[in-house]
């Protein structure tokens, strides 16, 4: 139980670090770390397939995509970097504080929740799930990818034009 809690705490810290650090690359690193830890959590709860997907797609593929997109961006100048560092605490201190406070408050709320873990019906075969049950969602995700690609096309062409 203790390892589990420790795992969750480190996961949250990694996520916090990812959102508060000032460099894009460090942020990506933090995300990859958090995803990896999440896949460990999933594995330890018995969802092997989900853990594998999480590790390969999120920690792996997404980080690669993020890093390659980040390479298209202009690195920050020293002044921007310093200014960002100075102001970041001021900008975002309420958010994590509030979240933690809310979490603590909610934990005192005695919501008598009966959690019954329903095991997924049918065979847990990934192929069946993806191709026959959730085709629509797959289609949706293809669309998001398409939109994302269009976005990259647009925004970076625009950046390039603006820089000229």
């Amino acid at each position: 139980m203790i390892w589990f809690t420790l795992l969750l705490v480190v996961l949250v810290l990694a996520a916090l670090w990812a959102s508060m650090t000032t460099t894009l690359l460090r942020s990506t690193l933090g995300l990859a770390l958090a995803s990896a830890l999440l896949s460990v959590v999933m594995f330890s709860m018995g969802a092997t397939l989900a853990a594998v997907m999480e590790l390969s797609v999120c920690a792996g593929l997404i980080s690669v995509v993020l890093v390659s997109v980040a390479s298209l961006t202009r690195p920050r100048s020293i002044q921007e970097e310093l200014a960002s560092r100075r102001s970041r605490l001021r900008r975002i201190w309420p958010l994590p504080l509030v979240l933690i406070a809310a979490g603590v408050a909610l934990s005192f709320v005695h919501a008598p929740v009966d959690i019954v873990l329903h095991l997924p019906k049918g065979d847990g075969d990934v192929r069946t799930v993806l191709w026959s049950l959730r085709q629509l969602d797959l289609f949706g995700q293809i669309l998001i990818l398409l939109a994302g690609a269009l976005g990259v096309l647009v925004l970076f062409r625009k950046e390039a034009k603006d820089d000229d």
Partner: protein, 619 residues
Amino acid sequence: MTPLLLILAIAVPAAAGLLVLLLPSRRAPWAPAALAALTCAFELVLAVYIFPHDFAFTWPWMGFGAEFAVKLSRFSAFILLGIATFSFLVTAYSAVSMAKAPSSRRFHAWVLFTVALSAGAVLADNLILFLVFWEGLLLTLFAMIAAEKTRPFATAVKAFVIVGLTDLALMFGVMLTGHLAGTMSMSAIRLPLDGLGAVAFLLLMIGAMGKAGAMPFHSWIPDAAVDAPLPFMALLPGSLEKLLGIYFLARVSLDLFILTPASWVSTVLMGIGAATILLAVLMALVQRDYKKLLAYHAISQVGYMILGIGTALPVGIVGGLFHMVNNAIYKSSLFLSAGAVEKEAGTTDLRELGGLGRSMPITTICFLIAAASISGVPPFNGFFSKELVYDGALERGWIFYAIALAGSFFTAASFLKLGHAAFFGKPANAKRTVKEAPWPMLLPMIVLAGLCIVFGVANSLPLERLIQPVLGTAMKGAHGGTFAGFPTNMLLVGLTAGVLALAVANHAFGVHRTGRGIGAVDHIHHAPGLSSVYKLQATGALDPYRMLGGIVGVASRGLYALDRAIDWVYSGLAAQSALAVSWVLRKAHNGNVNRYVLWALAGAVAVVLAVLAVTGGGR
């Protein structure tokens, strides 16, 4: 399909009006007038075509008793015919007189809308629908007077206020009538004249009289005569308004309510009619402007119609309705002749006119015929209708008859003066060469003058075909079933002849006294007693509109203080607090996305807690 012809009668002029408004006026300046004339011609043909039929068409519209119900009864068919005829004649006339005016497009569009609305009002069989069309006419009235934009605006406002107030009374009357009768369908209502019924009748009567221009709702007409374009005068105060106003009065008296000679309402109507006749003609007598003079006569003639209908006797009602038709004919002819004079001689001030008879012969002849008709000279149409009205008035009380007869005297005197001053005698301004009016202006005048003759000599045509069917069964047993032909009461005829002769004598006396046609009635003008009244009238102190303005002014000053306080609550307190709330909220939105996220998350927490509280965490 054919009841839809009724809808066409309303829809076609409206559509044509829209078309005229949308046409660019620069390329074809004659287009609005031409389109208007064509549309009215179509309307005329349509009115003639549907005349013998009995169509009705109903379509549920808004609920609460308001239906789109139109019905062609004998009466409305006849009025529709009148509307179409007069609008056609006037638009043909205005095709020339207003062709180059910059406001031609607006004016003709409003004319077409007026025709559409009038057709709708006449055909409507539902009180609410009728009210809609009637109110629409108020707007077109205003628009037509104000068509030339600068000076006439004050007159337009005056007309709007006066007619608007009477329309307000009409609205209350309609509501009350509908409430009493339980329905808004006009052909189903028939109420007795007692208590609330009489009140409703009076309210409706005020509405009708306001439209027709009887006293005391008359004071905008003389102002409009000077400021508004001439064809407008010929069309609206000259013919259409009378047709509509008296149509409604007749409908109300004959169909909606049961008007009997015994009721006090009938006496009220006759009193108003008589007063209007006499007072208006006295005003007309002393006018120096051709158009203003005609305007006052228009008001006076309405008195005959109201008097006739007010007698509640078949002879009087038929006389009143016949007079309505005849008045429309000769009044519009007179206004058109004024327009011809204005166009050719350049002025309508009687002091500057004179001797036009030589240079404008046709106009003069038409004027003479119309003037004779209005004065009640046989064998023109005015004589016959006046005799019928006299007959009815005398039966109800000699005082009414006497006033009406006196009115005829002054009418004749006034027109003798007008004719003499404008068309005969020496021209006051010899330098200007005047020629006859162009034929598109002459033709309508000639047609109307011809009608004066035809409706007089062959008066069975209008009486038996158009008017008497309105009374229906009430006509039986009276006078052998018809009033056509020469009047039978020779005493009345004699008295009329005597009065006319007296008027001629009076005129000769006046001319001899002052040496000019225009001075023919100066002795009446400066008569002791009357002269002070005339002086007051000239300053406008007797104008009911002004008096109303005075009373309103005093009352408003008194209420001003109270109003300020209430106003502070609304525009002070309420507005300031609303703006303060708005300002506070705006300040809170400082653009910081983190703040917005906080709000969202706080809201989510609140919602979840609320849900938990309500479901109570049921176990």
